[in-house]
Symmetry: C2
Subunit: 283 residues, 2 copies
C-alpha cells in the first residue's frame, strides 16, 4: 500500500494506474475508520482495479462551534486498517495542501442542502460538496463510494455529480450497524458505555416508523410523534429533527407515499448522532 502525501504524488500514482488500464475506485473519508468505512472499501475492491482512500478532516464543513479540533485523527490505526483491507493508495493531505490560500470557490447544492442536517449545520454541505469536488478532481475516480448513514450527503453529492457533469459514478452502500442497532460512526467513540446503550433507541425509533408504515399508517405527523416518544427514552437526549421526507427531493411530506427517507438527528450529551432508513412503499 502506498501513502501519497501530496497532491502531486497522488496525481502521479493515479496517472500510472490509468496508463495500466485500471479502473479507479475512491472512498473519501475523514479517517477514524470503522467497519462502515471498510464496507465501502470492500465494495470498491469488488468493482474497481485500483482503490484510493482519502483521509482528510475537512475544516470547511465544520461550524465554528463544532468538533473540528477534537475530531479523532488516529492515522496509524487508519493506515493499518486500509492495509488490511487491501487499499492501493491512501491520500492523507494536510489542510494546507487542500487549502493553500484563502478558498474563494464554493460549490453549493441549493434546496437539498437546506433541510434536515443543513438546518442545524449551516454551511456544512457547502463544505462537503466543495471538498468532494476538489477530491474528485484530484483522484479522478470512475466510482466514488459513500455510506447511506449520511443520507443527505449522498443525495447532495449525487446531485452535484449530475448537475456538473462530473465524469464519475456515485455508489451508496448500506449503513453498517453496531450489534445493538446504532449506525457505525467515528463519533460513537465519544459516548460513555451507558450512552452507547441509550443510542440504541435511535434505531428503535426508525424501526417504530417502519412498523407503523407496515401497519398502514400514512400520516407523517402521527408517525414522527410516536418516534419522538421512543427517542425520549434516552435521558438527556436533545432531538434535533425527526423527519419523514421524499427520498429524492428530501422535501417534507404529509402522507407517506413512494420512497421515503426517515431521518433522525439526536444529541446525546455533547455528541450529535444521525441515522436514517429508506422505506419504499412501492407507490
Amino acid at each position: 500500500m502506498k501513502i501519497a502525501k501530496t497532491i502531486e504524488s497522488i496525481r502521479c500514482l493515479i496517472k500510472a494506474a490509468r496508463r495500466a488500464g485500471k479502473t479507479i475506485g475512491f472512498v473519501p473519508t475523514m479517517g477514524a475508520l470503522h467497519t462502515g468505512h471498510i464496507s465501502l472499501i470492500e465494495a470498491a475492491k469488488e468493482n474497481c482495479d485500483f482503490v484510493v482512500v482519502s483521509i482528510f478532516v475537512n475544516p470547511t464543513q465544520f461550524g465554528p462551534k463544532e468538533d473540528f479540533k477534537k475530531y479523532p485523527r488516529p492515522l496509524e490505526a487508519d493506515l493499518k486498517m486500509c492495509r488490511k483491507a487491501g487499499v492501493d493508495v491512501v491520500f492523507p493531505p494536510t489542510p494546507h495542501q487542500m487549502y493553500p490560500a484563502e478558498n474563494l470557490t464554493w460549490v453549493n447544492v441549493e434546496k437539498l442542502s437546506e433541510p434536515l442536517c443543513g438546518k442545524f449545520r449551516p454551511g456544512h454541505f457547502r463544505g462537503v460538496a466543495t471538498v468532494c469536488a476538489k477530491l474528485f478532481n484530484i483522484v479522478l475516480p470512475d466510482i466514488a463510494y459513500f455510506g447511506q448513514k449520511d443520507a443527505q450527503q449522498a443525495i447532495i453529492i449525487k446531485q452535484m455529480v449530475a448537475d456538473l457533469n462530473m465524469p464519475l459514478k456515485i455508489v451508496v452502500c448500506p449503513t453498517v450497524r453496531e450489534k445493538n442497532g446504532p449506525a457505525m460512526s467515528s463519533r460513537n467513540q465519544y459516548l460513555t458505555p451507558q450512552q452507547k446503550k441509550d443510542a440504541a433507541f435511535i434505531y428503535k425509533s426508525l424501526q417504530k416508523c417502519r412498523q407503523m408504515i407496515k401497519q398502514g399508517v400514512r400520516n407523517t405527523k402521527k408517525i414522527t410523534a410516536e418516534m419522538r416518544k421512543v427517542l425520549r427514552r434516552i435521558p438527556s437526549a436533545e432531538i434535533q429533527y425527526v423527519s419523514i421526507v421524499d427520498a429524492e427531493t428530501i422535501q417534507n411530506i404529509d402522507k407517506v407515499a413512494g420512497k421515503v427517507l426517515v431521518a433522525v438527528a439526536v444529541k446525546i450529551g455533547l455528541i450529535r448522532l444521525i441515522d436514517n432508513i429508506i422505506i419504499d412503499t412501492g407507490k
Copy 2:
C-alpha cells in the same frame, strides 16, 4: 471536422483522442465567432493535438432583462469558421442537454465575482463558473483558452480551477481589436456605423490611462476622471464603471502600483461593451 451534438458523443470522441495519446485543447464560446475567437483556436491548435470548440449561449449567465433571447446564433457561419480554422470537434449542445432538469448546483467564486461587471450583472459570473465547470467535466481538456477581453471572467475561471484542483490549465490570450481600436465582440454587430465609430473612444480612454501612468500619475481617481472625459465624447454613452484595480485581486486601489487592470464598461444605446488593458508598472 466533427460536430458532436450530444454529451455522450463528445465524451466518446474525447475518449478516442485520449486513447490515441492526444492532448486536448478547449475553446468554450457562445458562438457568433469573430477574429478574437479564432485567435483562441489558433493558440489551441499550436499547443494541443486535438481542438474542441463548444458553442453554447448559456442561459444561466444572463440576467432576466439581458439579451439571452436575441443573442446572435449564426450556427452555420460559426461551423464554417471552425472548419476553416482546423477545429477537430465542435460541440453545440442545446440548453436542454446542458440543463436537463432544474439545476441545483452552483459554483460561486466569492469576492472576484462581486466588483466590476459583477455589480451590474448579478449572478452572471456564477452562471459562467458553473457552465465552465460543466463543460470542463464534459470535455476534460488539458488546456482551456479564454480571451483577455473578458478579464474578470478569466480571473474567476483561473481561481475556480486552482481552488477546485481542476486538472487543466487556463491560458488567457490577448484581446483582438477592430482596426479603429474597439475589442472584438459578438455584440459589436448590434452597433450602427456611427456607434461603431464612437466605440473607438472606449479604447482611447484606456490609452489615456496608459499615457498618464507613463507620465508618472499614480492617483487612480485623477486618472479615471480623465478617462471619463474621453468616454463622455460618445453621445448617449452610459458609463457603468471606469476602474483601476489590482490585476490579481481586482480590488480597488488608490494608487497605481505593481500590475493593474484598467477596465471599462459602457452602454452605447442598448449595447453594453466592455474593454480592459493590463499595465505592469513593475513594482
